[in-house]
């Protein structure tokens, strides 16, 4: 076991971790942040996407100790209490959610994009979501939701 010091959703966390675990396993099994999904365990589907030090990363292939000193945001840290982030609201409003298993990772990828680039082109949205697989929606409404959220955020929300 090893000791990990990291910041998760704004809270400083010190935890005993199994160094063989992935960051996704640690978040889910130790922190009970099960919003981060594991769809493949190999960094291929994007369901486990979180934001680490400002970048969208697939947490299922990141060794947990790589999070030492990092600032991590998971899907659970995106809303402010009951107040949803515009991305979360638009995912619901635009019909971007179906089964919901890819949704947290999809939102985290989109958030990392908008955090860095508030006015993305359509192509940039598609590229940012290119590593997140969704089998339900055909991506049409997901892209629409990201555009709508970007729009709202530019207007100051």
């Amino acid at each position: 076991m090893a000791e990990l010091h990291t910041t998760i959703n704004g809270e400083y966390v010190v935890a005993e971790v199994d160094p063989d675990q992935s960051l996704a396993q640690f978040l889910r099994e130790k922190m009970y942040l099960t919003g981060t999904k594991i769809g493949c365990g190999k960094g291929e589907c994007g369901a486990c996407t979180i934001i680490m030090d400002g970048k969208a990363v697939t947490s299922c292939i990141i060794p947990v100790l790589r999070a030492e000193g990092a600032v991590i945001q998971t899907i659970e840290g995106v809303a402010r209490g009951e107040k949803l982030h515009p991305l979360q609201e638009e995912f619901v409003n635009q019909g971007a959610v179906q089964c919901g298993f890819c949704t947290p990772g999809m939102i985290m990828s989109a958030k990392a994009l908008l955090d860095e680039n508030p006015e993305p082109e359509k192509e940039e949205i598609r590229e940012a979501l290119g590593g997140n697989i969704c089998r339900c929606t055909g991506y049409v409404n997901i892209e629409r939701a990201v555009e709508a959220a970007a729009d709202r955020m530019r207007k100051g929300e």
């Binding site: 919003g35 493949c40 995106v78 809303a79 089964c99 919901g100 947290p104 590593g131 055909g138 991506y139």
Partner: protein, 761 residues
């Protein structure tokens, strides 16, 4: 209608965008242990000996199960086991574990241990002595008498390696004789790949067996009741002592878990029965890809005959589909391939279809969105295109001339319902620019060739009367006047619970806001077959209509009695009671008052739904790079007659998602079998799913011809999006290149080979 037709945000949206929504993978129970499976490395083998002693001796191991210490009862892991109507009988050919594995991945043993790592290590330490046996992989090989027997005990004894079939469909005409009367006859044949559902949540179950004899399984099934029945029968437990529920969300289905999820439920349950602890068994993505039902691949050929004016006279189709090592849905699906894929869309008086579900030593094939219809569509629609060419007609005009009308007699034992094919064809054609773009192959000489193609078709809106397909529902009014619905349908993603509540709110006359549905739990409501066959909204609306009538009567009788008014004159609309236009008060107040007098407004219903055919047409535009062979799908215009779109964004979502699955089916996705190693595609990396940055433009077009059988005119939509896409794209590729392909998906290598063989490059 206050709520039907409205863009109401789905009721599970908050849970799903905040990460609070619980899926099977997220379930954690006290004393829970983890399961891992030992699978056969051989496509066909005999287990000569098995030694589990080393595995059992490992610290942390709680249970080891094999064929030697679990029941050898035979069953079928898919819903047909309990929904096959008499006099038909389901094929029962599976056991929990086997000592004669029949495909690479077949279950031989399983371990439960304190951690996944210990379970995995223990499974490796089970010593097995194997004797490899001969195997066969392709359906056309497997039907030859000299091929090895895959299921000698359970195959149809009259034919070689045929599972339950053949399925022969006819309805009076005689195609063999009728072809002689035709002015034009065309033939087309096609080889289709196996593709995988690739739903985002892998199969999983958390099973808890209590020594009092009760088994509770939280799992990813899309058919809780059939799963409960299969588990009870296969594990020898009274059915009343088995609970099956979703947690409550399921990360997609697309048919892969209409019944057991792979075998996750029964493996976890068998282990839990040994160690009396909750056992969590989550398939790895590799297990999901290589050890659970895929779509059927195989070979189909179709002969179509018509008069010189284009009137279709006869059609005869044969299909040999690879159903793999076990039956699951094999026999049923091969039937639907003929019925929905070749019989429903057009009026053709002389019809025959022969479907052969063929056992092979590969992973089992079963239900996947479309359930045989995409395969049937993929052989009939190109034949229609060839017929149009032969007769010198526009293929859309040819389709419109022959499309099923309200009075068409066809194979189906129920009326087709409202027939929107021609409107769908027109609108899809207009959206893709058919007039300007079609038929330009010969004018194109550059590296990039463009073309457009179209395909029409139908499906069903549920499985009745071909399956035991019915719904039950319990509804009640809470003290605050809100509606509470108990139904055991699952929510696998479409937004079924939202749309069903919209319908319920309008039927009963209560506000949609705060209405609740308890779903996906066999303890929460009586039998419902589950989410399959494009049925959930269509059929739950039907049973809801009956329950709503009863609930309104219950309310009106009580309120009428209280206020001394004729119950027949009462009305309830959006939660307000009135008598001949005069408001009487809120339902909430009456419900509260009734409660204090020992009365709750409630009703139930159990109904076998009617059925109707959902018609649709999709047009595709493609670009073919004749140097690389790359087919790029630019746009799919998908026009679907949905009768009434209860929630237009959710409805479009069904179409758009289906279309993209169809695009993958046509140009990218393919399970590739490597002899001795099994399927090459062990994960997303080696299985080419469409992603956001390579999807085409998808225009979903909602055509709304209310169906006479559907509540508010609703027609099923769920599976339809995927059904015609492959054929539309294949037709577009021919339109672009002048080459008709006979094997899918249209990967660059196949396209280049085809262009070369045709002398085009």
């Amino acid at each position: 209608m206050k709520y039907v037709g409205q863009n109401i945000p789905r009721n599970d949206g908050f849970d799903k965008v905040t990460g609070r929504g619980q899926f099977t993978f997220d379930v954690h129970l006290p004393r829970m242990v983890y399961g891992k499976v030992l699978r056969s490395p051989y496509a066909h083998a005999k287990v000569l000996s098995i030694d589990t002693s080393e595995a059992e001796a490992m610290p942390g191991v709680r249970a080891v199960c094999t064929f030697a210490n679990t029941t050898q009862k035979v069953w079928n892991g898919a819903a047909p086991m309990f929904i096959t109507p008499l006099p038909h009988k389901p094929v029962l050919d599976q056991t929990i574990f086997t000592d004669e594995p029949k495909y690479i991945g077949d279950e031989v043993a399983a371990v439960a241990a304190d951690t996944e790592a210990i379970a995995e290590e223990a499974a490796k330490r089970i010593k097995v002595e194997w004797q490899e046996l001969p195997a066969v992989y392709e359906p056309l090989e497997a039907i030859k008498p000299e091929s090895p027997d895959v299921q000698p005990k359970y195959a149809n004894p009259e034919f070689h390696n045929i599972c339950g079939g053949p399925v022969i469909l006819e309805f009076g005409g005689d195609p063999t004789a009728a072809f002689d009367q035709c002015d034009a006859v065309v033939e087309y044949d096609v080889t289709l790949p196996r593709v995988k559902q690739a739903q985002m949540e892998p199969h999983g179950a958390v099973a808890t067996y209590n020594p009092d004899g009760h088994l509770e399984v939280i799992c990813t099934t899309q058919a809780p009741y059939p799963t409960k029945m299969i588990l009870a029968e296969a594990l020898d437990i009274p059915v009343s002592k088995v609970t099956v529920k979703n947690p409550p969300y399921v990360g997609g289905g697309f048919g892969v878990r209409i019944g057991l999820s792979g075998k996750a439920e029964i493996l976890a349950a068998a282990l839990s029965m040994k160690c009396h602890r909750p056992v969590k068994l989550i398939y790895t993505r590799e297990e999901d890809f290589t050890c659970s039902d895929s779509r059927h691949g195989g070979y189909l050929k179709c002969k179509l005959g018509a008069k010189a004016d284009g009137t279709f006279v006869a059609i005869d189709t044969q299909a040999w589909l690879n159903t793999g090592a076990y039956a699951t849905f094999g026999t049923d699906l091969v039937g639907v391939c003929g019925a929905c894929g070749t019989a429903g869309a057009y009026a053709i008086p002389n019809f025959r279809y022969t479907g052969w579900p063929v056992y092979t030593n590969q992973m089992t094939a079963g239900a996947m969105r479309g359930f045989g219809t995409p395969q049937g569509n993929a052989v009939v629609e190109p034949a229609i295109e060839l017929m149009a060419q032969k007769l010198g007609m526009d293929s859309i005009e040819l389709r419109k001339k022959n499309s099923t009308r309200e009075d068409t007699k066809n194979w189906f034992p129920f009326p087709p319902g409202s027939c929107g094919t021609n409107e769908c064809l027109d609108r899809a054609a207009a959206s893709i620019g058919w007039e300007e773009k079609h038929g330009k192959a010969e004018e194109q000489t550059g590296r990039i060739r463009r073309g457009v193609g179209i395909s029409a078709g139908t499906h069903v809106s549920n499985a009745a009367p071909f399956c035991v397909d019915y719904d039950t529902i319990l509804i009640r009014i809470e003290r605050d006047g809100t509606l509470f619905v108990n139904s055991s349908i699952p929510e696998i993603g479409p937004g079924s619970t939202t749309a069903c509540l919209q319908v319920a709110a309008d039927l009963i006359g209560v506000p949609y806001k705060n209405a609740v549905m308890k779903f996906g739990d066999t303890d929460a409501a009586p039998f419902d077959i589950g989410s399959h066959a494009t049925r959930t909204l269509y059929t739950v609306s039907y049973v809801m209509a009956d329950a709503a009538k009863k609930l309104r009567k219950d309310i009106f009788d009580w309120v009428g009695g209280k206020l001394d008014l004729d119950p027949a004159k009462l009305e309830l609309e959006d939660g307000v009671l009135s008598c001949e236009g005069k408001p009487l008060g809120n339902l909430a107040d009456f419900a509260s008052q009734a409660h204090l007098e020992g009365k709750q407004f409630m009703a139930s219903s159990c109904q076998v739904p009617p059925n109707c055919l959902p018609f649709y047409a999709q047009a595709a535009e493609v670009e073919v790079d004749v140097e690389t062979g790359m087919v790029k799908v630019l746009k799919v215009a998908a026009a679907h007659d949905v009768g009434k779109a209860v929630n237009p964004p959710l409805c479009r979502g069904q179409i758009e998602g289906g279309v993209l699955q169809g695009v993958g089916y046509a140009v990218r996705e393919e399970m590739t079998y490597v002899e001795g190693k099994g399927f090459y595609n062990k994960g997303f990396h080696s299985y080419m799913l469409p992603t956001a940055d390579d999807r085409p433009e998808i225009e979903s077009i909602l055509v709304e011809n209310p169906d006479p059988s559907g509540v508010f005119g609703i027609i099923g939509i769920g599976e339809c999006g995927v059904n015609p896409t492959l054929a539309a794209i294949g037709n577009a590729v021919e339109d672009a290149t002048g080459v008709r392909f006979h094997e899918f998906p249209l990967t660059p290598a196949r396209v280049l080979a085809g262009l070369k063989a045709a002398g085009k490059i």
